[in-house]
């Protein structure tokens, strides 16, 4: 029975593998919530089954059998896994919980920082903040109504239709709450490090979402691809080295390619991802019920003595 613990772990691994292709090939309005939702559910399932394992092991230790009035040996034989395994699970659960807490505090700190930034950056029109700066810069900040920050240098590097693409892209990020999805996926990945690739996948998929939204706004995918290429070439010319961090951002070349030749819609990936998610939950339910039975059995043995 305890080997079933591997199912949520395997399903996390499978999701980590599928997240990339899903982000690339599935329609982003579906891909983003799908990856985020499955990452969260996967982190939760993994946490739950590991906790159950840890609890079954911890219940055999020290004064617990006496206090809880269950038989230590019955618990040990009925659960049928070495105590060491349970201890490892306990350590992993503690580590993951700590990591998730750290990530959650980071999130809160980031929210506060963004709120402060939004208060400082007073918009010229609507939520557009115009920077008088020849260096091409363009980004959006989510929070407090959101801000789209663009420098005059970026606008000057683009044609009028391309500027429209940029504005549509950035406002899509804000209206569709992309930062929320990104934060949630980071949280899931902190709680379950196997899900790390999902973070990059969601970042790419949200960028694609904004690209596609801009494309349907201007009615021309090629125009969006050109705007992206133009903007990044301009930014590259006046590159202010931001270090390795900026290079880790999601590939413009990838996005351009996907705009120019939209991928065929693959049903298989989505189905596979959803099925693994469901398998994860089913296993979690089975293991929880089984653990309940094991403890009950140990209690019966204790009272019969």
């Amino acid at each position: 029975m305890i080997t079933l613990v591997a199912v949520p772990l395997l399903s996390s691994l499978l999701l980590a593998v599928l997240a990339g292709p899903i982000a690339r090939r599935v329609r982003p309005t579906i891909a983003v919530p799908l990856i985020t939702g499955l990452a969260l559910s996967s982190a939760l399932c993994t946490g739950l089954v590991l906790s159950v394992t840890a609890v079954l092991a911890a219940a055999q230790l020290g004064p617990f059998p006496h206090h809880g009035q269950w038989s230590r040996s019955a618990l040990h034989t009925a659960s049928g896994f070495p105590l060491a395994l349970g201890m490892i699970a306990l350590l992993i659960v503690a580590g993951c919980l700590t990591a998730a807490t750290v990530q959650a505090t980071r999130w809160l700190r980031a929210l506060r920082l963004v709120r402060r930034a939004c208060a400082v950056l007073s918009p010229s029109v609507g939520n557009l903040v115009l920077l008088r700066d020849p260096v091409p810069v363009a980004y959006s900040l989510a929070g407090a109504g959101g801000r789209i920050v663009v420098s005059t240098g970026m606008f000057a590097a683009l044609s009028a239709p391309q500027r429209r693409v940029l504005l549509a892209h950035e406002s899509a990020h804000l209206t569709h709450r992309h930062s929320l999805y990104r934060h949630l996926t980071s949280l899931a990945a902190a709680a379950n490090p196997l899900l790390r690739p999902a973070v990059g996948a969601v970042t790419l998929a949200t960028e694609r979402w904004a690209d596609e939204a801009a494309a349907s706004e201007v009615g021309d995918r090629e125009l969006v691809a050109r705007a992206l290429a133009q903007a990044s070439m301009a930014a590259a010319k006046t590159a202010v080295p931001l270090g390795a961090l900026a290079a880790a951002d999601h590939g413009v070349a990838d996005r351009v390619r996907l705009l120019l030749s939209p991928p065929k819609r693959p049903r298989g990936y989505v189905t596979a991802a959803v099925l693994t998610g469901l398998a994860s939950w089913a296993t979690t339910a089975v293991i929880t019920l089984w653990a309940n039975d094991v403890v009950q059995f140990a209690e019966n043995v204790y009272t019969r003595r």
Binding site: L113, R182, A229
Partner: protein, 146 residues
């Protein structure tokens, strides 16, 4: 709002706020002051002249633009820089702070990332290939999917 021969290019009428932002962007990109007619030419004809004119006037009322008399029309420009010098410094400091966040991707969504040499070459090639293939031929009949 959308009219004329480029109607196809504009599938949805623009929201008022979006047009205001586009006009501001247009003047931000321009070297000097522009009249309403010049702005409309710059935009590419899919918005009526009167719409451009009233929107510019509204932006002037909101103090986002300043205007000077240029012959019989007004020429619009961004409001004077000195006011914003301080704001610029603050914005850059904020940007750097946000950029140093451990989960930067959740905080700040950049329009484009920095390119490495390989990506730069690939982009140039991709765009070139699509230009040669002829505008539209590769995308004829393809609608955006989201």
């Amino acid at each position: 709002m959308a009219k004329g021969r480029l109607e196809m290019a504009s599938r949805r009428p623009r929201a008022r706020g979006a047009l205001e932002q586009e006009l501001l962007a247009c003047l931000a990109a321009a070297q000097g002051p522009l009249t309403a007619a010049q702005v409309r030419d710059e935009l590419g004809h899919d918005t009526a002249y009167t719409t451009v004119m009233t929107t510019l006037a509204r932006l002037h009322e909101k103090r986002a633009l300043e205007r000077t008399q240029a012959g019989r029309a007004y020429a619009y420009a961004l409001v004077g820089e000195p006011l914003d010098a301080h704001a610029n410094v603050t914005a850059h400091r904020m940007h750097r702070l946000l950029d140093e966040q451990p989960d930067r991707a959740g905080v700040l969504a950049r329009f484009v990332a920095q390119l490495d040499r390989y990506e730069e070459d690939m982009l140039a090639k991709l765009l070139e290939r699509n230009t040669r293939a002829g505008r539209g031929s590769a995308f004829a009949g393809r609608r955006p999917r989201s």
